[in-house]
């Protein structure tokens, strides 16, 4: 019986980084309570992937295989996770708070009739009982959550929250094969449409450059795209800019957009409405550029420039270009 099980999210047969992050956190928690850590893999594994999962902290790999697992279908994956849980019998089950994990975890929770804590950013054990910390109101507040007695507890874990262990090649894991029940999924992915450019997703980005109402129109976002290119940053936007139709909603940061935590967040021409601040104020460093020195964004900014973005941003782009070349 495993204390913890981590559903490894596979891309081309390899576990995504969030899965390794969850293995590290599960290891830490299991160390406190003495349980085992299992990795659950659904579908084909790339060569050496089981060994890789072991090197990152898995004691057991529960490998579920079956034709209905690819392409992704929530119903099939839920059946796969259930089959693996029936085998490994974990006390606690982690999934990534990714598009896929957030789609799959509630199905599994309902199928097993157990509680699910979403988008967790921290865990602690209190007299042996697991407590999770998670943002609510898009980060305007935090809540600590506990589960009732039903097992496994399920949690989705926010990517970039924990650091993977140093891989240890001497660690070995037992691989247990579980066969997949045949599932006729009634909803199935049939295609993928890639979004703009080569930018990282906002939720994965290390640097974000966001524009707000002062961008005045879609064409001026070009100024920010140039800065993004120099910095390798991802382009964001405030709700005002999205609702004006200047940029697609997938770029929106805030309470009805993405909640982000990059190393550096540039808020350009963004006044700092409370619903925007909710989505970005956990960024490590915040840089604000705004004409209005009384704009609320300066209250959360680590560094601010009071000035006209149309003058400042091109100069800043040029300075970065020169400085980063050296």
């Amino acid at each position: 019986m495993a204390g913890y099980a981590v559903v490894a999210e596979l891309k081309d047969g390899s576990a995504r980084k969030v899965s390794l992050e969850m293995l590290a956190e599960a290891r830490r928690l299991a160390g406190d309570s003495g349980g085992e850590v299992a990795a659950i893999a659904l579908g084909a594994l790339a060569p050496g992937e089981a060994e890789r999962l072991a090197s990152y902290g898995a004691d057991t790999i529960v490998h579920v295989e079956g034709e209905s697992l690819a392409p992704y279908a929530t119903e099939a994956h839920a059946a796969g996770v259930k089959a693996a849980v029936d085998r490994a019998k974990p006390e606690t089950l982690f999934l990534g708070a990714t598009s896929q994990g957030k789609d799959l975890a509630p199905r599994v929770s309902a199928r097993l009739r157990v509680g699910l804590g979403s988008d967790c950013t921290g865990f602690e054990l209190r007299s042996g009982d697991l407590i999770a910390k998670r943002p609510i109101f898009a980060g305007k507040a935090f809540a600590k959550v506990s589960w009732n007695a039903a097992r496994p507890r399920i949690a989705t874990v926010r990517p970039n929250t924990f650091t993977p262990l140093q891989p240890d090649g001497s660690r070995k894991a037992q691989v247990e094969k579980v066969s997949m029940p045949d599932v006729k999924a009634r909803a199935r992915v049939v295609g993928f449409e890639k979004s703009e450019g080569e930018m990282l997703d906002l939720t994965e980005a290390n640097i974000i450059v966001s524009g707000g109402r002062a961008m005045q129109g879609p064409e001026n976002f070009e100024i920010l795209r140039k800065l993004c290119k120099v910095l390798g940053a991802t382009l964001g936007a405030s709700r005002a800019a999205v609702d004006a139709g200047w940029i697609d909603h997938s770029h929106q940061v805030g309470q009805t957009g993405k909640v982000v935590n990059p190393t550096v967040y540039f808020a350009i021409g963004i006044s700092g409405a409370i619903q925007h601040l909710a989505g970005m104020s956990s960024s490590r460093t915040i840089v604000a550029i705004n004409k209005d020195k009384d704009a609320p964004i300066f209250k959360v900014a680590s560094y601010g420039i009071v000035g006209d973005l149309y003058q400042v941003v091109p100069l800043l782009t040029e300075e970065f270009r020169k400085s980063l070349k050296e």
């Binding site: 992704y72 009739r113 809540a143 600590k144 999924a185 309470q255 300066f298 680590s302 560094y303 601010g304």
Partner: protein, 262 residues
């Protein structure tokens, strides 16, 4: 085509969250229909308009104040609204909420269920998907584009994922959870607002739905909040003023040499 829309009432996104006696203080909150549910309502109305037939029923679970969210949906053009009384229900628990909503869905009847991808209060992003599982239906979550064909009982949706959109084909009936970008919600018309006055909003209790109160009670909740906190205040920042050339150069120097973040 009978379309059910589940709407939650949440604090307006402009609300500053404060704590009182260890809980979120809701005394001064302005309650609104959950923004993501607004996209669900709009999509239901558009499907009805496109098909030239059908009925849109809006259902909300909670205390009496949720009637305001129902009235708002009716003013936009929903045909009927139902208030499911939340007395004794663990309203913070997605599993309990979805169990009650599943009962309401069975009683109301449906060909399609729409709701928001998440409530902007607790941010669980669960109830719609759990509802699908409890009703033994397929679902597509975080949907930004939707087509449904009542004759073939098939649908096609795009859902937002990291770096793009997945195209998903599904069979009806199904549960769809709406993401911003699905549509642009309309405003209520004066006619719509006047029409609400004549509408009767029936109240359903757990007994009406055949839901066991013990199973969805606060003491049976699958998850519970044990503590709340506010984010720590940020350190006071440094504001650069002066000539744009100077401030730009200084900012680059600070970020690279002092903060060492770039």
């Amino acid at each position: 085509m009978n379309i059910l829309v589940f709407v939650k009432q949440v604090p307006d996104t402009e609300t500053r969250i404060q704590l009182k006696d260890g809980s979120v203080d809701t005394s001064a909150v302005k309650w609104v229909a959950n923004p993501y549910d607004e996209f669900a309502i709009e999509e239901a109305l558009r499907i009805r308009e496109r098909l030239g037939q059908g009925k849109v029923t809006v259902v909300s679970l909670g205390p009496d104040r949720v009637k305001e969210a129902i009235k708002y949906a009716l003013s936009l053009g929903a045909d009927e609204g139902v208030h499911v009384k939340g007395d004794g229900v663990a309203l913070w628990d997605p599993l309990a909420v979805a169990t009650v909503l599943a009962g309401a869905a069975k009683k109301a009847g449906f060909d399609l269920i729409l709701t928001g991808k998440q409530g902007v209060d607790h941010d669980w992003s669960q109830a719609g998907i759990i509802l699908a599982e409890l009703l033994d239906l397929p679902h597509v979550s975080v949907v930004v584009s939707l087509e449904v064909n009542p004759e073939s009982k098939r649908g096609k949706a795009k859902r937002e994922v990291e770096g793009g959109a997945e195209v998903v084909e599904f069979s009806l009936p199904a549960v769809i959870t709406a993401q911003k970008g699905l549509n642009e919600p309309r405003y209520a018309s004066l006619k719509g607002i006047m029409a609400v006055k004549k509408k009767v909003i029936p109240e359903w209790t757990l007994a009406d739905l055949g839901v066991d109160p013990a199973a969805v009670s606060e003491s049976a909740a699958s998850v519970r909040f044990v503590e709340f906190s506010l984010p720590p205040p940020r350190e006071k920042g440094r504001i650069l003023e002066g000539e744009p050339v100077e401030t730009a150069r200084e900012l680059v120097r600070i970020l690279r040499e002092e903060a060492k973040v770039l």
